[in-house]
Symmetry: C2
Amino acid sequence: MNALGDPTRRAIFERLRAGPVAVGELASELPVSRPAVSQHLRVLKEAGLVTDAKAGTRRLYRVNPQGLEGLRAYFERFWDDALAQLKQAAENDDQGGKR
Amino acid sequence: MNALGDPTRRAIFERLRAGPVAVGELASELPVSRPAVSQHLRVLKEAGLVTDAKAGTRRLYRVNPQGLEGLRAYFERFWDDALAQLKQAAENDDQGGKR
DNA sequence: CAAGTCCGTAAGGTTAAGCTTACCGTTAGT
DNA sequence: ACTAACGGTAAGCTTAACCTTACGGACTTG
């Protein structure tokens, strides 16, 4: 989750949405250097959001559907709870808890 | 999205999932000071993830379902694209890779 | 083997994020 | 009106995130 907090990393992630891309190509399309892209990719990889595969001398990165599923489930749960909270607040004006 | 990048902010957000909470109570449950909580709440509010309402001398914060829906939709779209990408990659492999 | 790509890692500098203390406005109760 | 509780804001410091340059390893080709 922290991984998507950085704008550059989100840009990389969104670029990867279209399909596998090599590190150099990513760097050429972004306003940062190639090593910076490598570091961002490492963060994304450790977060389980992307996977990498050697392709000759290059290295292709792509989105990891499993990692995405985790985030989707996270927000889905949150969303359901928020709705339940709203419904309960609408039905009951009761406020418990503190005095 | 940047709003949920910070661990403390995520803790606040998850605490708010159970229902409306006042600023002081949040601070008492977290390892940070009350002003820090206020600042985090401001970020969350500007991101549209929470809403606030005066309640006497206190101020109750709660999760904003609309903001959550935006995030959910974002990942949903990503999820669909990732699946499409996977399917296409599988088809390409079927046709025999190129060299 | 030699040369050329492509990429990851290390080291260092710079900026911004997060936290704390201090101060002030607002609301409620006595 | 006075006091106390609650919370937002300002100023300042500290740490960590991010970027760049420099270097070295892995792989392919002539």
